[in-house]
Amino acid sequence: MPASNGEFIPKEPSQNQLRIMALQNSKIEELRRKFGMSRRDFVRTAAAFSVGVWAVNEVTGGRWGHYGFNPTAAPIGPSDACDLENPGSQLANLPGEFILDTQGHCLDSAGKWRIAQPDFEYFLSIWTTPAWGGPPGITDGKPHWMGGGEVDKMENLGRTMFFRESFLNSSADVVLLTALPNLPDETNITPMKFATETRDMINGITHSERCLIHAFTQPNRGYMGAGQVPTHQVEDYEWMTKTNQAADVRGWKMYCGWGDPIPTVNGWWFDDELGMSLVNHVRKISQMPGARPPVVCTHKGLAFNGTFDSAHFSPRDMGPIGRQFPDITFYCYHSGYDGEYMAAYPGDDVANSSNRGVDAFIKSLRENAWDATRFVPPGLQHGNTVNMYAELGTTWWGNMGDANQATHLLGKLITYVGPRRIVLGTDCIWYGSPQPQFVMLRALQFSEEAKEFYNLPYGLDGDRWDPNKNALSGASYPSTGHPNVDGWPRDGRAHPERTIRNGIFGRNAAEAYGIDPDATRGAISCDQVQKMRDAYVLNPMTPREQMPLRSNLIAGPRTRREFFNFVKTDYPW
């Protein structure tokens, strides 16, 4: 059921949402009796995830896509039972799966930012309320707004919860802790000292590289007008130079819509003097001895109107900057998505690159001859952009509830950005545990019409070097190899690690960040976190697999009455 973030009266649930809820309720009631479990216990099981996938599919699966765990089977029909045995709902990684969540978040609840940026605390509170709720309390003798269980609301978004939800309550192997505004760093919500401590704590426990970090930067602090160097730019660039290697920064995170002196005005573009100056500086510090290759990650899409300068979150400048700096890797965070209804790309005459939206991102690439269709190798039918990655944080979350929209989202990104240039971020901890997002991506199947429309005969199970080959079939890998792809396996075995799906899950990002997924998986399999998780999960790898502390909670107000109660009792502003 849709929840409010506490700022508005929640929308009435749609007919589809009501049908999904009704189906889930009836199936859960049926199955929990069969399992001999209480409803409270049953909803914490892997089987409950299967029920959720089944119900979403029953209502939204259709012309373009459906949800089901077996790509060769027909969509699950109303007469079929849910596939409770399927490991797709469970925590253990599936064959070939390596999950690198490229967008994890947490914050320093004891940071200076809470005094220096009270607006940001307000913003985070309302946005994350659906996931974590307000502070716990007692109303009419009943506990309410338990959220993550912390007395300090912001601590529900802190390091401990990040570790619990991303590493213990999910199938993620590696998580990239990315950054939010602003500079100077000591007033950032995830300051570098906190970020490096978090990373080092996690990697110290695991004795493997399970957490990477970004750092935030901006070119416009102290903005004084066009043609003038902002007052703090030199200072901020010096800080970048010092921090880059000292903190082992894996990428620089930017928000073009973060204005100055107030966040809602004076944002910047990558193709204006501020953006060009910043990208040139990233290139410069990446050329210093011992430095890592340059990676620029930028928020594009999600307007956050009222908090940021939302016009500058249009992805219109991704094509120009990608083309101009082919030696730099760019990640377009959110892929430009801003809540639009997801359909097929409407064409270059219709798309407006100044909009926010996935189509605007594609148009920006296309008008600069920088989209994947320009880079199709000889003898193949699919290409990849040179240096531009489409990131799915919140974008997948916002589309996975509708199989048709989810199919169009991935279909057009595969076509225009490339099967090896899409990376899954979850934007968690803002949304609680990322596990539902993983389960849904495991289950999405393209319809026959979608396979034909997007020229993907095997849907997400196609080989991402040649999507016209089925990576799950040994017949795709004969001893003769592939005439147009170097390094093509010749062992006659299925190669699930080569699917488009598993590329999106983490292997694409691993390639970009120079991580060996299989070596990392090997190290993880016996690390301390894995042992903690193994000890924590009940009935692992069965339909009864259960996370006893999994909250599954969407704590925001769900009805008009709950909203007004929330405002009366919990609104601290």
Binding site: F123, A303, F304, R316, D348, S354, R356
Partner: protein, 183 residues
């Protein structure tokens, strides 16, 4: 020495004559224009004047501000053979900081061949956008240069109680395109 310079000058003239610059002014052709119900757009092929306007009364949510911002274009077509660059001149340009003057160049066979943009804000501005083509056009194709103004969809300013604006109350721009020159 004078003979050498004369010869070089003559050679240069021959080279220039081989790919003569072609300038075209209004009337242009109408290009695509659209936007959602909060926008209005106009593009006059005869005068070369393009205008866009959006009243940002869309209902926001905390995260999203979805819609279709105003987009209005004119275009000019010419044979692509020998063309290596395109210049688009404009005058009387005034647009706010969120509006962009956008130029797409594409061939009938090659697809996108060039792109240019001028970001705002501008007030009474004139200028020329010079664009070198990404790659040579294919023989016999037609080159289209599409130029106009575009903006994002904005939402009601000050959507949240914190009281700061995200979108501007309105987005607006007006410019007159003078010529498209190929070289």
């Amino acid at each position: 020495m004078r003979r050498v310079l004369t010869a070089l000058a003559a050679l240069g003239a021959v080279v220039v004559m081989a790919v003569p610059a072609q300038a075209g002014g209004p009337p242009f052709q109408a290009g695509p224009k659209h936007g959602d119900e909060y926008t209005s757009t106009s593009a006059d092929p005869n005068s070369g004047t393009v205008q866009i306007f959006a009243l940002n009364a869309r209902q926001p949510s905390a995260v999203h501000c979805a819609g279709d911002g105003p987009y209005a274009t004119l275009q000019s077509t010419q044979p692509a053979d020998g063309v290596r660059s395109v210049s688009v001149a404009y005058k009387d340009g005034s647009w706010i900081d969120t509006v962009v003057l956008n130029i797409d160049i594409f061939g009938s066979k090659s697809g996108a061949l060039g792109h240019g943009a001028v970001t705002g804000g501008k007030m009474g501005s004139s200028g020329t956008v010079n664009m070198t083509l990404f790659s040579p056009p294919q023989p016999g194709e037609t080159l289209t240069t599409r130029f106009g103004l575009q903006a994002h969809p904005g939402c009601v300013p000050g959507a949240q109680p914190v009281g700061l604006n995200g979108s501007r109350p309105f987005e607006a721009g007006r410019v007159t395109f003078v010529s498209v020159t190929t070289g």
